[in-house]
């Protein structure tokens, strides 16, 4: 499937009106934190942009990220990005299956070599030579390495693809690794989150389509436009944190008054994501607003970073046994030292 001309032409052929397109650009500009005048610039350059070929590879994932993106059947402002790209392979959304689908993937890769956008969903198991996850007999490791060779850029969608996610959690029986562990010679954009906020995914794609480049990334490869602030920095319950008003249990007086959830295990202070500003379900709410502390799902290894319901300062290990052993060992060594000293003193006294 060849990309049909420009994005503008593709949208026209699909019956998407110019007004809908302008509305999309306005929403994107607003959501990416760009000045509203940028919307016109986005509209202009996006309409003229060549429609990129996009290949979506699903690996060791729960399909939650795809679900997050494809919530509605009719085109919406948010999902219009998928009208703009030429989605040449997506296992879940494809009508074709089996060998026909695999053939389509190989054709897309060959015909657009060096220019296509590779979207990866899910982690990649490396245990048992990659046998834990195969599509059509080809292991995920192999498929990723082949597809990455001709990709202009790679977007790792979801915490599994970006950092390993749930499969990588202790004890990681399948040897799951993130995309960036296997692909080191191409730009990898990590759009983390479990799942990521849908508009964040479309915003990253829109940025790539409009500007033809990878957006500015933080130290973990996440786009700074969405992952630049912690939840804590933009949380509307911050005044309660600063005043020391915390909910002690779920549904107590403090919780009902909307107080800070720090004591109930909120990981907001150490989690970078756009949940507090962009929110979920098109700005409806986000976990803290609904009364549950942040899980830290856009951070690496968040499954292993301590109990979701224990406050951030508490240890990530159980102290009891260690401390008992330490105390006992110390006392024992002390007693032994004292015994040695006493014996020597007795020996000296006897000499005298």
């Amino acid at each position: 499937m060849d990309p049909q001309g420009t994005v503008g032409e593709a949208l026209r052929h699909q019956g998407v009106s110019r007004r809908s397109f302008l509305k999309f650009c306005a929403a994107m500009a607003s959501m990416m934190g760009l000045p509203p005048d940028a919307a016109a610039a986005i509209a202009e350059s996006l309409a003229k942009a060549r429609r990129p070929s996009v290949i979506w590879l699903p690996f060791q994932e729960c399909t939650g990220c795809t679900e997050s993106l494809t919530r509605s059947n009719s085109p919406t402002v948010e999902s219009m990005i998928f009208n703009m790209i030429s989605l040449d392979y997506h296992e879940t959304l494809f009508a074709a299956a089996g060998e026909a689908a695999e053939a389509a993937r190989e054709k897309a890769i060959k015909e657009n070599f060096g220019r296509y956008l590779l979207l990866v969903d899910g982690s990649i198991p490396t245990g048992l030579d990659g046998a834990y996850s195969c599509i059509g007999g080809v292991s995920n490791v192999q498929m990723l390495q082949e597809a990455a060779k001709g990709a202009a850029a790679i977007v790792a969608i979801g915490t599994c693809a970006a950092f390993g996610g749930l499969p990588k959690a202790n004890p990681n029986p399948t040897g799951a690794v993130p995309v960036s562990a296997l692909v080191t010679d191409r730009p990898v954009i990590n759009v983390s989150g479990c799942p990521p906020i849908p508009v964040v995914i479309t915003g990253v794609l829109a940025h790539y389509l409009t500007f033809g480049s990878v957006p500015e990334l933080d130290a973990l490869g996440r786009p700074k436009a969405f992952y630049g602030d912690t939840i804590h920095d933009r949380c509307y319950r911050r005044p309660f944190y600063d005043q020391g008003k915390f909910a002690k249990t779920f549904d107590d007086e403090g919780a009902r008054s909307g107080w800070c959830l720090y004591e109930l295990g909120c990981k907001g202070p150490v989690t970078y994501n756009a949940c507090a500003t962009v929110k979920w379900n098109d700005g409806t709410s986000f976990p803290i607003e609904s009364g549950h502390g942040c899980l830290g799902c856009s951070e690496p290894d968040f499954w292993d970073k301590g109990d979701f319901y224990k406050a951030l300062p508490t240890g990530t290990w159980s102290a009891g046994r260690t401390l008992a052993v330490a105390a006992a060992a110390g006392a024992a060594v002390g007693a032994a030292a004292a015994a040695v000293s006493r014996r020597r003193q007795a020996a000296i006294a006897k000499e005298k």
């Binding site: 720090y262 202070p269 109990d307 401390l323 060992a329 004292a338």
Partner: protein
């Protein structure tokens, strides 16, 4: 593993282990040592009155008060401030409650088990600032006074350092100032790890030993008939 996970995880784990091991080693080791038999006649009948020395030595004797009142007072300001910051700052309260869970029980809701109130962030910040100011003043005095400078050794300066750094990094982390929060928090916890590791091996052990030492001295003075 990123710096914060290391600081909160293995580093803190080992630091606590070394702390507890070291403190108990020294305390048990010293207290089980054989006391030299005293063959002299006791001047006063045996009693526990000597233990008064523990309390009496909290303030310098009248004769020396004029010279050392300032240092003593500053010392107390520092100790009081540190006590307030360490025991009444919310993250510390949550940490300690979790740490003592094996002893006192408790669950996720802080309704059972060991629990005590905390002070607001502003008050803690002020206490920390006062504490650091007192520490700096004491260091300046130590360096300026010729006698004190002469008798000061590595232990004195290093103990001062490992006490001051946690306070400074704690204030920076609380204010989210100078670096991303995770980095500040990691540095704060690592500095506490350093303090814990150094604690049993330097003069910081005075926190436990002063009571023992003063008690023994007091009893000895009482036996000799000397004034406490």
């Amino acid at each position: 593993m990123d710096l914060l996970s290391v600081a909160r995880g293995p580093a803190l784990h080992y630091a606590l282990f070394i702390f507890l091991f070291g403190v108990l080693w020294r305390l048990v080791g010293v207290s089980l040592l054989a006391a030299k038999p005293d063959y002299s006649e006791p001047r006063r009948p045996a009693s526990w009155k000597g233990l008064r020395m523990i309390v009496l030595r909290f303030w310098p004797r009248r004769e020396f008060a004029a010279r050392s009142a300032m240092t003593s007072a500053l010392g107390y300001v520092f100790h009081a401030g540190l006590f307030i910051v360490f025991f009444f700052c919310l993250p510390h309260v949550l940490f300690l409650e979790d740490l003592f869970k094996p002893l006192f029980g408790g669950n996720l809701t802080r309704l059972t088990g060991l629990s005590w109130p905390y002070l607001s962030g502003g008050l803690i910040m002020m206490s920390a600032a006062v504490t650091v100011a007192a520490l700096v003043a004491l260091l300046v005095h130590r360096i300026a006074s010729p006698v004190k400078r002469l008798i000061s050794n590595f232990d004195d300066y290093f103990s001062w350092l490992v006490t001051t750094i946690p306070l400074l990094t704690g204030m920076l982390a609380s204010a989210h100032l100078g670096a991303p929060y995770q980095t500040l928090l990691a540095l704060h916890i690592l500095s506490v790890d350093l303090l814990l590791v150094w604690f049993p091996f330097g003069k910081l052990m005075h926190s436990f030993t002063i009571f023992v030492v003063r008690g023994i001295s007091g009893m000895s003075y009482e036996r000799k008939g000397a004034a406490l």
